[in-house]
């Protein structure tokens, strides 16, 4: 019963949060709502017994991703409201709903037909984290490494794209050069 209460509560909250994200015109509200939604989704993971996944969700999504978005928002003038041209609501809603249903139908068809066999069954007794660890480092090792490489690439690209004066390296410059640079900057600021 608790499960039911928890499910419905979090479901309602999640839907509400995401709805706000999608419909509000203020960027700050959207960001906040998104963060809240992420937290609630992790609650679902915990209900489903995927402890590790829930923790990862909080750490990565609500922590890292949201922080990134917050920094991103810092760059843009978010007080300026972006006027949105009124698109045809019905088309948009209709399309979204239909596609969602279709996806679910396709994915759920084998389930309904009971065509599933478990490849990596969960063992009783062992905690979820341990099991995840075992599977991750044995069966899914290659995707794991690839994901790591990809994260590295993302990190480097983020730095390159967002950084300024990347051609200068403060650690490799001599003291004299750094002094020259500072004087030039002061001149510019004063004049």
């Amino acid at each position: 019963m608790f499960e039911a209460i928890a499910f419905y509560l979090f479901a309602f909250l999640t839907i509400a949060m995401f709805y706000i994200t999608v419909t509000t015109s203020q960027a700050l509200y959207a960001l906040t709502a998104l963060a809240a939604g992420m937290i609630f989704i992790s609650a679902f993971f915990f209900i489903l017994g995927a402890d590790f996944l829930g923790a990862v969700q909080i750490v990565v999504y609500s922590g890292a991703v949201m922080a990134l978005y917050a920094f991103g928002m810092m760059f843009f003038d978010t007080t300026r409201e972006v006027k949105e041209k009124a698109a045809n609501k019905f088309i948009v809603t209709g399309l979204a709903t239909i596609s969602a249903i279709l996806v679910v139908v396709i994915v759920a068809a084998p389930i309904v037909a009971d065509n599933i066999t478990a490849y990596y069954p969960m063992t009783e007794g062992a905690g979820n984290t341990q099991e995840v660890g075992i599977v991750l480092f044995t069966k899914y090792l290659v995707p794991f490494e690839l994901a790591a490489v990809m994260l590295l690439v993302a990190m480097v690209s983020g730095i390159v794209l967002a950084g300024k004066k990347m051609d200068l390296s403060l650690t490799l410059m001599s003291d004299r050069e750094i002094l020259e640079m500072r004087e030039e900057k002061n001149k510019k600021v004063l004049s």
Binding site: M1, V65, Y140
Partner: protein, 102 residues
């Protein structure tokens, strides 16, 4: 009603997915568009986790992991590009970025 089954989770996932799609189609501010993309990814994660739980298979959770990893890197790269664009054009309105015409 009381007994939460797989269907409940799938319906929830569907609703969230459609909310995300609406956001993707509706938003003209590129940053908001990214938010909506996040919603999409999260809804799929819920579906994976639910199926994995109900069938006693860990594959769903593994998938969800990798989705999270990919989402994170996507955010990084996407925001970087957005910043570059903003430096150039000083606006992030979707209707203004239509250089990929024809």
């Amino acid at each position: 009603m009381m007994e939460i089954g797989l269907n409940h989770y799938l319906v929830l996932s569907t609703i969230l997915f459609s909310i995300g799609l609406i956001g993707v189609m509706r938003r003209k501010n590129l940053l908001m568009l990214f938010f909506a993309t996040e919603i999409l990814l999260n809804s799929v994660n819920i579906a994976f986790a639910a199926i994995s739980h109900f069938y006693g298979d860990l594959t769903g959770q593994m998938f969800a992991f990798f989705v999270i990893a990919i989402a994170a890197s996507e955010v990084a790269v996407g925001l970087g590009l957005l910043i570059v664009w903003h430096k150039r054009h000083n606006a992030i309105d979707l209707d203004l970025m239509s250089t990929m015409r024809g």
